[in-house]
């Protein structure tokens, strides 16, 4: 199945072949008569899932035109991305590395990142509590209180290990409260806790898939601004880990990803038939299920959110670019701190 939405082409059918033909993209889907041609200028980005082949001419052309290509695993895990030549902002990347080596600068950025994650988690939980009743509401409001209580400690955390401890703690509380925000549905077992690689229940499978979409978005924003996606502050430097992308994702996880997952499940847009159970216990979205999520994600990306510093509303899809820019302005010495985005 190929889905073209908002100038992004999503290709999910296994075995699909994409090649360049003049200024167009030719799509051949196995066991399907005929072929589809899409003019390249209509596309800003291509996202492929699993076994999809792209001709090297197509890849090179996309690199030249700065049209991004994102590779996801069949199940929706982010694998890699192409954005064309690195933007030449060497001073920014140099400042980014220097900030990483400066313990005081590094911890200050990391504290703000964790505080924003906690604040935005609290916001999502309080929103969910408004629609809940009785014990569920009480539990969510209690979690919101605990999350707020953690902030003063985060503000003075001495190092990133300590911060990671607070972060993990907040994430556990967050997901425990998310359980109360999910309406029971037949065929979807209640959410117990966050399980990654591989998810073993529908809620976790959806969470993982949406995090993959979010990560692609944030990674693209970092590249666009000219930041090195692999040098982070909270997440440090680790081989093959885009630490800066993970840092910037923290503030967006609850409001942009978790909230969409809650909506899709609570509104029954995702139903038991959208999930497949693999031998050994792993659960993943079916191709139809992924299409439901991708379509919802593309609408979700257009939703405007208030942004205090910008003094106006910013569509969800552009928030990561805005934040990557604010970080760049801090790293280049224009702003005294990195100020994450707080949902409201």
């Amino acid at each position: 199945m190929t889905t073209e939405l908002l100038n992004t082409l999503y290709v999910q059918t296994q075995g699909t072949e994409l090649r360049l033909e003049e200024d167009s993209l030719r799509i051949r889907v196995p066991e399907q008569e005929g072929r589809r041609i899409v003019p390249l200028r209509r596309l800003d980005a291509i996202v492929v899932y699993g076994h999809v082949t792209l001709s090297s001419e197509l890849i090179a052309r996309c690199a030249r035109d700065a049209r991004s290509i994102t590779w996801m695993s069949r199940g929706g895990r982010f694998e890699g991305r192409l954005d064309g030549a690195v933007r030449g902002n060497v001073l920014l990347r140099h400042a980014q590395h220097q900030a990483h080596d400066d313990a005081a600068v590094r911890i200050a950025i990391a504290r703000n990142v964790v505080a924003a994650k906690v604040r935005n988690s609290r916001w999502v939980i309080l929103r969910a509590a408004r629609d809940a009743k009785g014990a569920a509401q009480g539990a969510m409001r209690a979690t919101a209180g605990e999350l707020a209580d953690a902030l003063p400690e985060i503000a003075v955390a001495p190092d990133t290990d300590t911060l990671m401890g607070y972060e993990g703690d907040a994430a556990r509380r967050h997901f425990a409260a998310v359980r109360h925000a999910l309406r029971p549905a037949e065929g979807i077992p209640p959410f117990e806790r966050r399980i990654r690689r591989p998810p073993t229940d529908p809620v976790n499978a959806t969470l993982s898939f949406v995090y993959g979409l979010l990560r692609g978005l944030v990674h693209g924003a970092a590249e666009q601004i000219g930041l090195d996606p692999y040098v982070g502050y909270l997440h440090g430097i680790r081989p093959a880990k885009p630490a800066l992308v993970l840092d910037l994702m923290e503030e967006f996880r609850a409001p942009l990803a978790d909230r969409l997952v809650l909506t899709l499940l609570n509104r029954r847009q995702l139903r038991p038939e959208h999930f497949e159970h693999l031998p050994g216990g792993a659960v993943r979205l079916t191709e139809d299920g992924r299409t439901v999520v991708i379509q919802a994600w593309q609408e979700w990306r257009q939703r405007p959110w208030p942004h205090t510093l910008a003094g106006r509303d910013v569509p969800a899809g552009l928030l990561p670019v805005m934040q990557a820019r604010l970080l760049a302005r801090h790293l280049r010495g224009d702003l005294p701190a990195y100020l994450p985005w707080i949902a409201s």
């Binding site: 503000a155 820019r325 604010l326 280049r332 994450p340």
Partner: protein
């Protein structure tokens, strides 16, 4: 975290200043900083129009027209000043006059940034052709006419002064502060520059201190 570049220690030639940077710097120092130091270049309608226009002019070569030969996209330089660039068009007149013609998509503003760029071109051509260039021209596509710029001593001093300022900025690798005034409205760099955010220090500090102090729980919902 501004970066200090190592001292030059007097070796080598002056860091070269692009002619186009003079115009940008004259408009707003930060604008030229964003282009030269941060490699930022954001297309907006004005710059795209400018590019289309330049494509027409930028075909290297010459076309004869009566007593005037016109060279297009001519690379120019002045080593004494440390200036380099490309002229949209240079007219070589039969009487020996050399006239640079800079093409602009927008309106012409007397004594504006375009004059500085045109004068810089004239000063390069003087050094290259070994003869005085007392006039330059700015062709405005919006006005559909050519404006003559007299390259007098005042303008020459402006060129030398701005060249030195751009060179200082390049050497220090520090971005100038935003002007944050009505210039920003017509500036294609506004997105990456963020002049409003930077200028509104009070709002930034307030948001920063709010980060760790969320509004209390609503009493009842």
């Amino acid at each position: 975290m501004a970066t200090e570049s190592p001292g030059r220690g007097g070796e080598g030639p002056l860091p070269q200043v692009p002619l186009s940077a003079l115009e940008h710097y004259a408009y707003c120092p930060r604008q030229s900083g964003l282009i030269l130091l941060e490699d930022a270049f954001e297309d907006d309608a004005a710059t795209v129009r400018g590019t289309l226009l330049h494509q027409r002019v930028d075909t290297p070569g010459s076309r004869g027209r009566g007593a005037v030969r016109t060279l297009h996209a001519l690379p120019v330089f002045n080593d004494a000043l440390g200036l380099v660039g490309v002229c949209d068009a240079v007219e070589l007149h039969a009487d020996g006059r050399v006239l640079p013609v800079e093409h602009k998509s927008g309106r012409y503003l007397p004594d504006g940034p375009a004059d500085v760029q045109a004068a810089g071109q004239a000063m390069c051509l003087e050094a290259m052709f070994g003869r005085a260039v007392e006039e330059a021209a700015v062709y405005s596509a919006a006005d559909r006419r050519r404006h003559i710029v007299v390259v007098d001593q005042v303008l020459r001093d402006r060129v030398t002064g701005l060249t030195a300022e751009v060179r200082r900025m390049l050497t220090a690798s520090a971005l100038p502060a935003p002007v944050a005034d009505k210039r920003c409205r017509r500036c294609s760099m506004a997105d990456s520059c963020m002049p409003r955010v930077l200028a509104d220090d009070r709002r930034f500090r307030q948001a920063l201190s709010d980060l760790f102090h969320p509004e209390p729980l609503p009493e009842h919902s």
